[in-house]
């Protein structure tokens, strides 16, 4: 079950996504915000009839605890509208990421932002979330999404 998301948490998520990834908050303004267990922030349809008991809705966009951790599903869906916090991978590292592996920040990448969560991208495709820390990329892809690919 989920509850309506408090306004301050909603604002904190929108501010973070704008500052870190350059995501225009108005892109999410038509959706409802919900709070699940363990600080899970969810966006769902703009209008949900009040008489309904909702199990869940839409997609998880972030977990909020001491900081905001964006979800890979959010980054995949809105990544093409993001302008910052992006690491463009080449084929080998992209495949490592999709299999769920960690890897060092590749030499071919120039980073002009601080350590923190990043959008990992291959060609024009936003693949998901990694954590950039001290020259390494920690894989944040949920286990259920990890895949060894034959056609890639």
């Amino acid at each position: 079950m989920i509850d309506p998301c408090p306004a301050d948490i909603r604002q904190a998520v929108l501010d973070y996504l704008e500052q870190r990834f350059g995501l225009d908050p108005t892109l999410l303004s038509g959706y409802s915000f919900w709070l699940g267990t363990k600080g899970r922030v969810i966006i769902g349809p703009g209008e949900i009839p009040e008489s309904l008991s909702i199990d869940t809705a839409g997609i998880l966009i972030a977990r909020v605890a001491n900081n905001v951790k964006p979800s890979s599903n959010l980054l995949q869906l809105f990544g093409r509208r993001m302008s910052r916090g992006i690491i463009q991978l080449q084929r080998e590292e992209a495949h490592r990421f999709m299999q769920g592996l960690d890897f060092p920040l590749p030499d071919y990448v120039d980073v002009d932002f601080d350590d923190g969560y990043v959008l990992l991208q291959y060609l024009q495709y936003p693949l998901g979330c990694g954590l950039l820390k001290e020259g390494k990329i920690k894989n944040m892809l949920p286990r259920a999404k990890r895949l060894k690919l034959e056609y890639f």
Binding site: G30, Y31, I43, G44, P45, G46, E47, I48, P49, S51, L52, S53, I54, D55, T56, A57, G58, I59, L60, N73, Q76, L77, M98, Y125, L127, A144, K145, L147, K148, L149, E150, Y151, F152
Partner: protein
């Protein structure tokens, strides 16, 4: 390895030998595996983008002539493609893509849509794509275990405009929807090409046990439809007791229900039956359609488009 064929049960043949023009082709198709197929998830990619990627690594496919977002890939697996990882394709049987497609025109302006028996979410996520993530889809299922798959697919496809509920439809709160999809639980005969085991446990008693529930569901769902709204009743079975008889029941129970014709360009359907064995149906029922596997190389399906 090719799985051994499970033969068509004798009693099944006897039940259905008279319901189509070419029973030999019909029965033969039932023991022929389905081609692998997928739907492009337009929340993530366009069909053109997916096709161009498939071309780039030599994965053979064909466009489906009646749905611009559907592809067949013969016997080549899709589960290890980048497109599957990224969620730009959704592995789905062709026949199960039909109900949202038949509602397509109404979805353009619909604000509130109900997918009454939604898990695992193939059709809900397709409805979401056809609505371009606007409006609200209430995806309901009474089976809490199956809702897990629905949640996963909703997340993976980026279907933000879906809210999931876990009601027995018969106890669903009173409210009105612009569009309702009632893809009813059924004896699933039409899925035998995907699940050959269907013929191992097939028995007419499954038909009779589900038909009672379907009669309740169709009336309840219709009562939740707004005036002027449209509902699609569908099943993946051939049994007239679960198809024509259920629509006939609705027409008897609700005077304000009417049927509308269903036409899908480049796709062959057959009019629903006006009678079966001793049963005679309201002649309006024949506006509903049957989807036979041998006519379009799909699973089996039944659809009735109902207006209030």
């Amino acid at each position: 390895m090719v799985k051994p064929k499970v033969p068509v049960p004798v009693e099944f043949r006897e039940r259905y030998i008279d319901i189509c023009d070419d029973p030999d082709a019909f029965f033969e198709s039932l023991v022929t595996p389905l081609p692998r197929t997928c739907r492009v998830n337009t929340h993530k990619s366009s069909a053109q983008e997916v096709c161009s990627r498939f071309d780039s690594y030599g994965l053979k496919y064909e466009r489906v002539p009646w749905y611009e977002d559907a592809l067949t890939t013969g016997d080549q697996p899709l589960g290890s493609t980048f497109e599957h990882f990224f969620g730009s394709i959704y592995i789905q049987d062709l026949a199960s893509m039909l109900p949202p497609l038949v509602l397509r025109d109404e979805l353009t302006d619909a604000e509130l849509v109900l997918d009454a028996c939604a898990a695992p979410g193939s059709k809900s996520t397709q409805l979401s794509a056809l609505m371009n993530n606007r409006g609200t889809i209430v995806a309901n299922d009474n089976d809490h275990q199956r809702i897990k798959a629905l949640k996963f697919n909703m997340e993976k496809t980026g279907s933000v405009n879906i809210a999931i509920t876990n009601y027995d439809l018969r106890n669903f709160p009173d409210m009105k929807f612009d569009v309702i999809l009632l893809d009813a639980p059924c004896s699933s005969e039409g899925t035998v090409r995907k699940v050959p085991g269907v013929f191992k446990w097939w028995h007419p008693r499954h038909i009779y046990s589900t038909a009672g529930v379907q009669r309740q569901l169709i009336v309840k769902a219709f009562d939740m439809l707004s005036d002027g709204g449209v509902m699609l009743y569908s099943t993946c079975t051939f049994a007239p007791e679960e198809n024509e008889a259920i629509v006939d029941h609705l027409l008897r129970e609700r005077q304000d229900a009417s049927l509308e014709p269903i036409e899908i360009d480049n796709f062959r359907t057959v009019s629903a039956l006006s009678s079966y064995r001793e049963a005679e149906y309201d002649e309006r029922v024949t506006a509903a359609v049957r989807v036979f596997p041998h006519l379009n190389d799909t699973g089996g399906f039944f659809m009735a488009r109902i207006r209030k």
